[in-house]
Symmetry: D3
Subunit: 277 residues, 6 copies
């Protein structure tokens, strides 16, 4: 198990802190690491003493998404056996995304993201499922959902959450055109709650300040009220989000079975396709 190395988990007072700790690969995550992230969020959910689940990161990127270079992923899986290939992508794509998205949107605590840098791909979908989002004060912070660039479709429920949180115009730019949405815009539109006055080389101070902010925020709050209010708010949109999740996990599968993302990733690797960054 890679917990305690790739992704850290600790309890600080009322806050469960989950830290992406793979700065050398820009916190890209392979399938096992994504599942581990889900398991740790579940663990935080089951902890009766916490109120917040804070997901923070290390290094220059919050997360650069799925680690497609990871040796555990095999693009050349048995393409002559349709059934085997379907199973492969069901197990390496559909089930991971179904699970992670569910774990995030069914989380009962206040889910907080601390964006220390850019966030890309599936992780952007997960960030868009968080309740409260803070960022470091660096104009290079952005969210990127490059699914159209990669021959995929939206993931992590982002086909619902971005529309709802950014409005149609920006959501379309981000999702149809794979455009990054920069921190300035995210602040203006109210997607990011607050910008902390640290630079990208001050991630530790940023993370500590976010933690302090949460601890201060929670003084005198009644936890039972918070959990109930969160459930009331979520009841507004849960059905819509579940419906989009249902679509995304199978329509995305079909793209893998048509080899669209495989070709895109190969081109990126061979420098014949400029990545959307």
């Amino acid at each position: 198990m890679t917990e305690g190395r790739d992704i850290l988990y600790e309890i600080h007072d009322k806050v469960a802190i989950i830290t992406l700790n793979l700065p050398q690969v820009y916190n890209s995550l392979n399938n096992d690491q994504y599942l581990l992230l889900g398991k740790l969020v579940e663990r935080a959910n089951d902890n009766n003493s916490t109120l917040f689940t804070l997901i923070q990161s290390t290094g220059k990127y919050f997360s650069s998404g799925a680690n497609v270079k990871d040796i555990s992923l095999d693009f050349n899986v048995d393409v002559n056996n349709d059934l085997e290939e379907t199973k492969y992508w069901l197990n390496n794509f559909t089930s991971r995304n179904a699970y992670l998205t569910h774990i995030f949107y069914s989380h009962k605590k206040i889910l907080v993201g601390a964006l220390n840098g850019p966030c890309i791909g599936l992780t952007t979908g997960l960030v868009a499922l968080m309740d409260i989002i803070y960022s470091i004060n660096d104009e290079d912070v952005f969210l990127l959902a490059p699914f159209a660039n990669l021959g995929l479709v939206t993931e992590g429920g982002i086909g619902y959450t971005l529309l709802s949180r950014l409005g149609l115009s920006y959501a379309n730019e981000a999702l149809l055109l794979s455009k990054p949405i920069h921190v300035k815009r995210l602040l203006q539109i109210g997607f990011i709650n607050k910008n902390f006055q640290f630079k990208s080389n001050q991630v530790d101070q940023f993370n500590k300040s976010v933690l302090k902010e949460l601890l201060n925020s929670s003084i005198n709050l009644e936890s039972e009220s918070i959990l109930d209010i969160k459930e009331i708010i979520k009841s507004n949109y849960l059905k819509d989000l579940e419906s989009i999740n249902s679509k995304e996990i199978i329509i995305g599968l079909k793209k893998w079975l048509k080899h669209l993302p495989q070709e895109r990733f190969k081109k990126i690797a061979s420098k014949n396709l400029k990545h959307k960054l």
Copy 2:
């Protein structure tokens, strides 16, 4: 009846003006006064000659919410008789909130709020049900929904309206963390339509200017069209709002029956709990 003293009602051309007139208690309202507010909004609804229902206030606060110090409220009601206690809070909490929320969201005229100062609690829920919202130009104007601070849950449908009008990030800050949302942010995000250039000690001029603005706005408008357009717009979200209202009035009741808000209010009274202001 306290109409004409605690809450004023007058017709000015096409505008029914309802004025909260309890500046000495920051326009906190006891149960009877909240019901009176509802009855006056109903009266405005039934007036065939008006187009706008303007709710304005006096003094430093638009409204500081429920007046829990009011002698008519008895926190020590028969706690040894579960049935009696349930009846007490059904009658002093559930029925009031069910009624007021319905009266506001079923209002047919253009419902306008003129925020002369901060607004807190249930009244914040009612403001969030208004069609058009103006504010005085004072950085101390804010909305506060301190339900998590008071051991309660959201009221007045605000579990729906804030999500819809502020976006998830700000709504969560306001509702899960009981944070005030200040006028600057409310303007930026488009919750407040317009800021009038008066200070907090110029409430009369502010209220007059809002009235003038409405009268000017209504020149050459066809009332029948407006009422139909409002009904069309409302049909988008009425079901969601009714559903949240249904939850809020009973989940809140259960908090009173668990004595969470009673303990909170006692602590506040004894200065052992810092209020969220």
Copy 3:
């Protein structure tokens, strides 16, 4: 057929360009011209080689809405024959709006609007159905939905789209009070994606720059992914939009049958009613 004169259609690489070309009447459109617009959007939809459908315009206005001065419209139609009058407005109002709104919200490509100037009436409804919206950098650009001013109700699904894209406060101002929403606010609130640095007398350069922007945006995007993502996003709200469209086309009809808009248009023509501009 007026294609190639009143409204132009050309394919430029991945972009189908539809140009409103009636600058002398501020691109107001009569019924046939609106239908033609719909047919051209359908044609773009069926073109397998394009990814974008760009709707641009000429002269000072993007479009000033329905051309009510057009000789083809007869306000005095057989008012003594209820059945004939109903047929007349069904055919000259209901069927046009039902068709156009459907054609726009069922469009599969990325639908882009290039606002070279103000946009009024039904065309504002159509703009609010577009995926991505750019504007020229001129403070006189605005959207106007003067239906309450004209004795009508909302058209083109705008009773849904403005609420969703502007928030309740601004949508109410625009729809209940027929207030123009100016470009500055549209940018701030994220309705307009980007402002191009051209003035109102540089429409050609503006249109060329928008085209260039789209061509640049589409480099390295997978079309199949885009079409699927758009369908996923649209599945969030299509039912709500269809429901509003259903209401608008018949409630509007009833206004014509009560002669409210006819009287309003006559007053405007005779200068006895100040138009909302």
Copy 4:
């Protein structure tokens, strides 16, 4: 105007009676007659003294649907002019169906159908929008929605109402396979409220008995309560129905523009296509 001849309208106590009176053509209706039906239903809606709107018929059929042999319908309309052809079918199909469907589902009184015989096509859609449905006791009574047989799609909201009232299995048989649903099944499944013991040659007695049943039923009922209860019930499904109506009126239009129904009707006329009866 054909009222008083083709379709009769009379008030009997609390009941507005609308009678289809074209037994010689099996109460098939041309476009003007369908519009007239809509106008009469509107008139009944506006009558303050009635509680029921009873739609009954004459002869062997309740209604055999649209009268496609009517000389007013021109299948050969200008097929070389796409715009003109679109206008033609917008005016002769889309607008009629949009209007009629809306008039029926927005009706405020208790809408009662008295099925004296088979009902086919668009009229079946209208029957499925009625609140209470009675039938004569004849095994040849059936509902038929032969849209798949005619190259069309569902009309009158029947894509929603049959699913809701018959369940998926029967709705699919009726709509996908154009199968008639016979009175026995309609009674068993609870679509028809009650079967009156008259035969198909006793239509007058049947109609009189239905009227008597309604008058008896309404003794001691509070009209205001009924209207409010109907509105409460309708609020459960109105949005879904409006959404389906929006789809049906334009997807059907596209079938006419592809000439599918025209070819089908020609084949039927030339006996080369066996009609689904």
Copy 5:
């Protein structure tokens, strides 16, 4: 407290049994008794050892609804004081119905009704919220929702549940025309799960058989699965039900404030109005 006398509560293995025990008044319930019923259902909800909550009755009627003859209800309340009268009916109508309906539809166990005889009024609404419904084999068993007869509107969410469980035709007969729905029809349409072969004078044996049936049914079932499945099923319709509940509790209030039901009840008492039985 009247528990143990008016309404009985006992635990039998996995079944919490709640027995209406006022056969002398046909199990009509006054406000306190309805609240007590709600509290007992809540108690059953909180019992970790039970799986079923069985509501059964005694004597000839399951329940004849609200006991309007009860001396605790004052029809002549302060009709000259609108505010006081509003409070009176909020407290004696709105809050009771809001609470009871919520308690029933938020119940987590399998809620079973054993109909030993007719059921009328608000209790019919509660029965329609139950998961599984058994009846005695007596043709006089019926459900009656006489709200239109009494100048009221639907209660207990029955404006949603009857539509959903009986289909539109029967729901309309029951709710718009206040017609009783008899056991034969309820069985045929699948509203009642099963008819037990006992007559109306064998209530004890019937109740015992129902209990035995439940105990047999629950052998080898996994409780956690059942609770989760119930929650999954309920998520299909909870929002719709909450929305209807929100409407019913305030629209009904308005009827009391217009004195419609008061007049009806007076007429019934004076024999001038034939009750719908």
Copy 6:
């Protein structure tokens, strides 16, 4: 690949016929066989010449559900490694159910089931997703959804479809109490369209008759109309179905991770738990 042996696929005129061909194990299916079923349904979907997709079976059972005795399933997977165990059940439960359910509800042709005998478990969920359902005339035909008996939750969207197709009372019996629903009831309630007069030992004749029925039904139907009508009907409920699917695939996973079904299956194998048949 086991196609052509375990599951057969053939085209007969307008009908793609998929035959479950494992009568020796009562057509229970292991994971690979379920995926194969999905792939064949997809193949039928992509065949431009067919209108119907008929799923039929062989032997005494239509299908007895998941083959849990299949050696490919390992109940003892690495229970000491939470991450590995989660992956195991994601891949052997969640991904299969997500995929199959999606394939069935996104199928564009008329999906027909021919029930030659009982149907159990996941396959019952799939049957409930079919458009038209026929059965052999044998009183032993039943549907069983024994998820509560097996420590699981509903699968294949049956938490939505049974409620919608059987009504709440019967759906609750079937899903909460794991009761079989027999053919007689299914016919009465309109779940099964038609009963063919063959006995359980005449499966071949039954299958041939169903095929003949479909071929006869399709005479003179316009395929394009049928596909569009099916899409219109499906748009009524697709979102609700997707939402339930999203819940079922993860809540079921959690049951496996809690070892509830494993223990149940072990008890059944050791005869200590009487199966619900």
